[in-house]
């Protein structure tokens, strides 16, 4: 019965299985690093994967859009869980990665509600973050060989 079935995975079979598992872990670790890099620096994931033109376009366009949002008196929203829309806007703002932390550290993104361009600034900041998250997903797809 079950006991009589010969074990097709001998010593070398087990070794192959261990190697395959290690390779999968390494690959998943690399994927996580790739996604983190792509989030932190817009376009870094594509540059890592050798897609220079795309990476450079993201590297210029997204931080520029974010900077324009700050220049237009947009606000970097706080993580306020009592107000769901503010919390969601904060997550979207954070999507841009390192530029968010640089702007916060330098004291930008206070937001001037009375400014005519306030809402435009918010739209620029939020959409820049969300577009960068799309770029991260695209880099992941490229790394997985789906594109």
């Amino acid at each position: 019965m079950g006991d009589s079935v010969p074990d097709t995975r001998g010593g070398s079979g087990k070794l192959t299985a261990v190697r395959a598992t290690a390779a999968e872990e390494t690959q998943s670790g690399t994927l996580v690093l790739l996604c983190l890099a792509s989030w932190a620096i817009p376009g870094a994931g594509h540059l890592w994967l050798g897609r220079r033109t795309k990476g450079l376009i993201f590297l210029v366009a997204l931080p520029l859009m974010f900077a324009l949002g700050l220049a237009l008196q947009g606000r970097l929203f706080p993580f306020d869980l009592n107000e769901p829309l503010v919390g969601l806007a904060a997550i979207a703002d954070l999507g841009i990665g390192i530029p968010y932390f640089i702007a916060s550290t330098l004291g930008y993104g206070g937001g001037e509600v009375r400014a005519v361009t306030y809402e435009y600034g918010n739209a620029y900041l939020i959409v820049a973050g969300l577009l960068n998250l799309l770029v991260v997903i695209d880099a992941f797809d490229v790394a997985m060989g789906r594109k």
Binding site: L68, T117, Y120, A128, L131, D138
Partner: protein, 52 residues
Amino acid sequence: MLLVIFAFFVSLVFAVIAKDDLREQVRFGGMMFGGFLASALVLGWLMYPFPL
């Protein structure tokens, strides 16, 4: 002007994500950019009769 710049950036990023060939990127991005501007104009005029 701010709307035009916004539409440009969004169209650029979407075109670069969605397409690989330069020609297709230009075509897709151009159509998206035009769509943004046209829809903004149409919606703006549709809202014109309504008071604030």
